[in-house]
């Protein structure tokens, strides 16, 4: 089963290779991985999309935790979360296709970020299903190049009843 694992790591050289080496050395699967610094520049946040049965995911989480440079590991599948991915898609556009391309971009609430007489470069963001869908629709026009960021994800904040919220505020 697919799991999204959020890993907070030290923002130091070599950390990415420690994480990647752990996955390759133990035969774990990485479907996508994204890394960027957090608000605190001494830390980076990785989002790893992986898959495996329950025992493998447990091992992945434990093995990640065992890495000295890993500060925190959260298996987002254990909570509610939202995930997004961005794709940059360069499509060939014959004059007669340009309107169709614009319509598709509009439907998916994407935007054209670069344009030449023969191509559009489209930026679109959403969950993986949405990205897949727009790719499918653009394919007949001819996709010249496609870049996907891989998924990033964040846990949903638990929604508290208003009364509890108010009490908490009062206490503070």
């Amino acid at each position: 089963m697919e799991h999204i694992i959020s890993v907070t790591v030290e923002n130091k050289f070599g950390v990415l290779s420690r994480v990647a080496g752990l996955f390759s050395g133990r035969g774990f699967n990485i479907e996508s991985l994204s890394v960027a610094p957090t608000l605190d520049p001494s830390m980076s946040q990785m989002t790893i999309v992986t898959s495996g049965d329950e025992r493998i995911i447990e091992q992945i989480v434990k093995q990640l935790n065992k890495l000295i440079d890993v500060i925190k590991v959260v298996d987002l599948n254990e909570t509610e979360f939202v995930s997004r991915e961005t794709a940059l898609i360069k499509v060939h556009t014959k004059p007669e296709d340009r309107a169709e391309a614009l319509r598709i971009v509009d439907i998916f609430r994407g935007s054209i970020i670069d344009s030449t007489p023969g191509t559009y470069t489209i930026e679109v963001s959403g969950d993986s299903g949405k990205i897949e869908a727009i790719i499918n629709l653009l394919q007949p026009l001819g996709i010249k190049e496609l870049i996907r960021t891989g998924r990033v994800a964040i846990a949903r904040e638990p929604v508290r009843p208003a009364a509890v919220q108010a009490k908490k505020v009062a206490r503070e």
Binding site: V9, G14, Q59, K66, L67, I68, V70, I71
Partner: protein, 591 residues
Amino acid sequence: MKLNGSEILIESLKREGVKTIFALPGGVVLKIFDTLHQQTDLQVILTRHEQGAGHMAEGYAKATGKAGVCLVTSGPGMTNVITALADAYMDSVPLVCISGQVPTSLIGNDAFQEADNVGLSRPCTKYNFLVKDVNDLAATIKEAFYIATTGRPGPVLVDIPKDVSMNKAEFVYPNSVSIRGYNPTYEGNKWQIKQAAEAIMKAKKPVLYVGGGVGFSGASQELLELAEMTQIPVDMTLMGLGVFPGQHPLSMGMLGMHGTYQANMAIHYSDLVIAIGARFDDRVTGKVAEFCPHAKIIHVDIDPTSIRKNINVDIPIVGDCKTVLRELNQILRATVNGEQKELRKPWWDQIREWERAHPLTYQQDADGPIKPQHVVKRLYELTKDRDPIVSTDVGQHQMWAAQYFKLAKPNRWLTSGGLGTMGFGFPAAMGAQAAFPGRLVLCIAGDGSIQMNMQEMATAVVSKLPVKIIILNNRFHGMVRQWQDLFYEGRYASSYLDTTPDFVKLADAYGAVGLRANKVDDLDAVLKEAIAVDKPVIVDVPTYPFENCYPMIPAGGCNHEMILEDPPELKKKQTGSAKVTPEDKDTVLTA
């Protein structure tokens, strides 16, 4: 006070209580060696190969319980020490390896003797550092020792570029370490420990399955108390030998592929397995799906990844063995009612029956070739009162040593368990000898393994490390030969060593003492002579080449399905028509 990098390194090592380092120089570490040369607090043992330095540091660490330290140069120095790092990583040996690196300005330029030391060692170290600034050096050494020796111990590499070893910085040694991503759990979960105690009280056929972790955590006393109080039989892993007294009536000896019959039967038929500081290695579990089919499993380990990695566990307890056992014993002391012996009687009757049915056995004829088991047994009888430290290489001799050399205490057993590194034994023994100059240190080796680090005999002689090597010389890679006999229809592909050197002359050439026991009757006298000499000794014992190590669970087999003796066709072959190659036949058989 401003010091250069080399001085900072040495001062830091001294602060960590290091007395001995195992080292081999090279271009980029010359400044460090030059500084070492001008001081007397640290003893430098110059090895002949970096692998030897690594294994010596391991032997030192296993015998003392403290971190072993080795120092190697860049490039080939580093690649040579990799085997020792991988070995230490598998067997959780606390090690700090200092490697030289080309100057920071040249890193990445394919400079002479450059290698990516951090990249090379990443999968076989607990952690590694490249020190880019001399101002970070002292703190890095402090962190290296902290990481190597705490939690589940392991090797740590510190890579020091040449310019860092020469640049100056203010020397401030930190008092404490705090690493936000590294906080080993020592205290076990109290509720889980309570569950474990209840399970122990309920069990009718419990078995303790104990490993090297008990030794590292110094929990032998607590283990002894637990076993005696509850009258539970103790199965030891290869790494765990010595953490429980081998001669104790509750000791089942080693379990696993070449474990004793009773140890394997007991764990297979148990209703509760209490695993402490052991990791359910495939050499122990055999076929995982049928491992302990009737048992509930308690697993105590400081490394959370060890738990549920290979085997499903009912009561996991992450924590330090000593801390957890103390707490467990405290609960049990209040509940155990002194009738444990009575309660366990049916279980013990069964175990004693297994023991009687298939004890460890071999046949030594008075005028026949010397049997390897007999050598180990005599060595044990002759030395047990001197509380020796015993190292082994890897193979048949290692298994016989594990079966017949019963150790009374922890930190006496130096063997390569996880990685199975041939060539480990001799340098490891030297490392232990360097730590304890007055002690008797034995290295039980095979004629194949010993040649993998033979060059260290020069180190032993020059550095006066009077290790006693006993070679069980069967002129084969014996374990390979055994598998070929059992599973490859006796085709000895590259297992016959043909022309082994004359080990007696070889010892002599190095300035050590070489002895040989040709007949059973000579054995005791030769062993006694070897023990009496205050020099490194090789005792060459030509042994019967076709002896196989039993019991044996074939790889992937089930623990209660042991091969206990040679299958009939093999027996027949060995009594008459054993063939190596036609021309070698006589040589092999007249051993």
